[in-house]
Subunit: 344 residues, 4 copies
């Protein structure tokens, strides 16, 4: 019989994979994570060979990936830290083997198969899979997680934007015809580990730039889970000269004037009992450093004197709450473990 | 008889003052800048004692400031690199001595005296001074500079925002009732040289934060020179973990759909013959590194497919085009020298 | 009766204090740390008011410091995260109240009282205190810690240098008459939190400089615990543009040629069973990132082909193994808890 | 007849090439630099297509490289900003066409052909070429430059180390049997522009590491031009998380005690009349920021109280005095132009 505390990770070779390994190795309720690599040409026996930072932190055995090997490892939950197209292929196989999946790619995050294929230029996932997939934002979908078989771990930018806006959207407070501007800034680890000219240290250091305007693939993920149309939002992304962290400055117009205390109450009620969202009092704003190397999403706001123009600032660590930390938070919910286990 | 190529600088002890000194020392048409310090307790004889970077770059003699000493130095143009309240006091005295002034503070940038006093919590400047003051943005007010006696050198953020939006405002293309969002990010040298907790290396490094929302003193300077009301614009500022540079992401809605080529033409026509504004082709955006250590303001834009939502990105070096470089550009215009002298 | 798992921290207002709080709050065997502040003018009730990063990480109550209040808190071990002169005054009082002390200052690190007073320009500590003080480097003095009443937590540079050289010194392998060169580089958090001109972001960013040559107060701490004379070592320190971390490049000449495998064996034997020292195979060197945000000291070396010139590289996180992490490691040893508890 | 102020640059596609272009474009005595690219597949017409920073700075035409085309351009001096193996091939061809060459690669820096082939794993250059090549360190070989046909522009590390030590070596002050330790640190632009895993922003940011111990190719260049044996020097290199700059900490033992004033005088006399070396008074040390974006080499020192242990700190911008700036300084000397032209 399989042990419920055993997990496996497929493809932990990037930055989010490293962070996931680090969290799982220190997780008090997880007995023994096994790491499966698809490219076995390197004959890596232990994840610390790829990430020297992991030496001395516990046994992190690596094995060549096959569905059978994963099933035989005793894992009940399998993390796919794989590219979109690989997750698209592997998730059904792993599910068919009776295992639960937390997928860190974009493959299963959308309601409609076509949305994925249109924005990612890849084949559409099966509709049945999307129908059973739970979007792994525990603050919104906590009750679906304990029984979820396939969890689509959210994108880093969407986590930040959705958590910052959802209370306002749900309350119907927004003058939606005015539009919403989401000016988002991310550290360079969000762009992945592959060497590229524009990620060379000299190109990022002392630099700052906007990228992918009106074309970023996280756009439909945001509108999907906010229930907005694409025309209602302008979402821009910028590259910060830091390794980790996302800060989103969110501009909304309210349909009628509000007081700061009302906004504060709205957010407090919405996130009551959510240990991973930290709210700031009206007029005080979170900073990237407050959330770096944590799983928190910090949210603050400033309302202008008219009471109609509201700026919400939402920030998180793109490898923590924006990726690996959130995956562990989802795991905790799936296994009925305390939500913040291994995350503080 | 005074020599037209002689200039003086009062108060060159901060980052902008250093940059101004560096530019003047290499200016081929400026014979001999003299630096006047107000706090003479340090008995500084040469600016290189304050800025070792200036050693070997030329003679930069320092003297205690008095209006008489400045007048006796043979300078015809005097730069005030002094705090707002000091400029407020000194500018009239220096003007009365028959010298021309380029003031780098905020004291003389507004049309109405009350605007300054309300936002800076300082006494209002004399209305007569404001009436003769030229706002030193050479791309807009080039023809007023040759005869200007008092030039108010613009703020760093306003330079970036005004240059990015003015062609659109002047053309009447904006759906102004939709509002304008100016999400601006600056390096830390813009906050000055005084040691403060929030400017400690450890507090800025690997960090990013918004500050002074709805209260930044550059707000009325922007609206004043764009001819907008305060309610038409949301202007936010953020601190980047870089030393130099401002990048402003400007969100506007157009009153009717436009093509990218139309926007491109609008900007090209507006900035024709302006050597310090560099325009990017539609869809390509400037970066902070392109303008760091230069006097350029680089402007690019992306128009969304609907043709109605336009994002303009404007960037510059806050010590260059945002302060000292612009001051030298103003000097060049005032003296009839080639506009880009010492600035390439 | 007091609870053995209760601890107190005095003066947790700096960077090391923050890190100590963070580690104690997640320590599975520590029930409830209480934080005592000496300057009570701020009426801080909770440490998260000083460090927003700590919000949501557990209850961190703050109280005004008195020896009586600390004793009444039920703490058995008290961390002094206080300036040297304050530790000098408080440690005897806290010890007299029957509590054990881990002092993070430099006050009790030397064998001779005069060494401290000469290098720190402060009164000498009592000789009896120095005689009972244990230098809190668990890799060297593990057996003394369980019964220690006063632990002098080492300096950040000395931890790095001593761990890198002690195996060679103890083995008598060094040609000591040739001298030892310790070229050490530290991140800016090692210089403390107080705003100072030379720690302003703009002054540290994109910069690098040596400081305190031949005068650094960590010099006698290094020679004391290596058993060397001051003339046998050149110790230099440099400021890196990073927040955290120390990397020491250590140059020694061997008294006779050795093979890399011999050096490797020497270090492996010396650090056998020490979970917080990670050794690298010959020719591979650790990097700052490998140890940032950890309590590890990583050590590697390269031997030149002659076998007589050896370069050892030792690195650690100055707030982790160089300060707060080491303090917790000492605590664990003092309480008989697993040495790495809360540190992985 | 060719115009003496015309120059050409071959291969300006890397960081040093960009800096060279920037300097030549603002050089008051250079009329019109032409840029020749070897890989013509990109059909680049203007260097600003590769380096947007150059837009608006002057005409920088690009043409496909052939020796004939270079000769026809009217250039008298040709800069080779090409890889070692390419310079090895092109330099003789360009010389044969009657043009003078400043080569920025390592191909012609050594006295012995074998030294190059052994350390660079490439064919040896012709001995006749090495015999006529001038090592382009103007502070040492100024008189050879006006008539030089082939100038080997020095490496960045060697420039810093040689300038810091040569006065001491020439004076015979060193206890050479004690050895010399050169602990050098460089910014990431020194490693070139090609994307590589270890130069990814995330791998360099907040990191620091030593590399190439006992194997760095600049080692024999240093010993060659200091007249030392390889066994007399330990030269180590480290990667700093900055874009530009090298700081070398140089440890020497003197053969008899000296006073600081003697050391100061030695250096002052040695570098009298050298505008690009800036000396610091005894006990004060230069920093990376002092030299970034300049062509200066700044040198300071601290002598320990015994008068026998001396630490010299030498720093420069690796793209300035360490590469492109020095190349222009050599050009100035070759053409009889003021040495600092375009470099202040």
């Amino acid at each position: 019989m399989t042990d419920p505390q055993r997990v496996a990770v497929v493809g932990a070779t990037g930055y989010a994979g490293f962070e996931l390994a680090r969290l799982l190795l220190r997780h008090p309720q997880i007995e023994k994570p096994t790491f499966f690599l698809r490219d076995t040409s390197a004959h890596v026996k232990c994840l610390a060979e790829l990430f020297p930072q992991l030496r001395g932190m516990g046994d992190a055995p690596c094995r060549p990936f096959t569905v059978q090997a994963v099933a035989a490892s005793g894992a009940r939950v399998v993390f796919l830290a794989t590219p979109h197209e690989v997750s698209l292929e592997l998730a059904p196989q792993v599910l068919d083997a009776g295992l639960r999946v937390v997928d860190l790619s974009g493959a299963f995050r959308f309601r409609e198969p076509d949305t994925f294929s249109a924005w990612y230029k890849l084949p559409a996932p099966a509709r049945e899979l999307l129908e059973q997939a739970v979007y792994g934002l525990p603050e919104l979908y906590a009750e679906a997680l304990p029984s979820a078989r396939l969890v689509a771990n959210p994108g880093c930018y969407p986590t930040s934007v959705i958590l910052g806006l959802r209370p306002l959207v749900d309350a119907g407070w927004l003058a939606r015809e005015r539009g919403i501007v989401c000016d988002c800034k991310s550290g360079a680890s969000g762009a992945g580990k592959e060497p590229r000219r524009e990620l060379h240290f000299v190109e990022v250091d002392e630099n700052f730039r906007a990228y992918n305007l009106f074309t970023h693939r996280h756009t439909p993920e945001i509108t999907d889970h906010l229930g907005l149309g694409l025309a209602e939002i302008i979402f821009t992304t910028h590259l910060l000269p830091v390794a980790r962290g996302i800060l989103s400055t969110l501009y909304v117009w309210l349909e009628r004037p509000r007081k700061s205390s009302e906004v504060e109450t709205l957010f407090r009620d919405f996130y009551a009992g959510r240990p991973m969202v930290r709210l700031w009092p009206a007029g005080r704003l979170p900073e990237l450093q407050h959330v770096a190397h944590t799983n928190f999403c910090d949210i603050g706001f400033v309302l202008d004197p008219s009471g109609e123009r509201l700026v919400v600032v939402s920030c998180l660590d793109n490898l923590g709450k924006g990726a690996a930390g959130q995956a562990v938070q989802n795991l905790n919910r799936m296994l009925g473990i305390e939500e913040a286990a291994a995350l503080l």
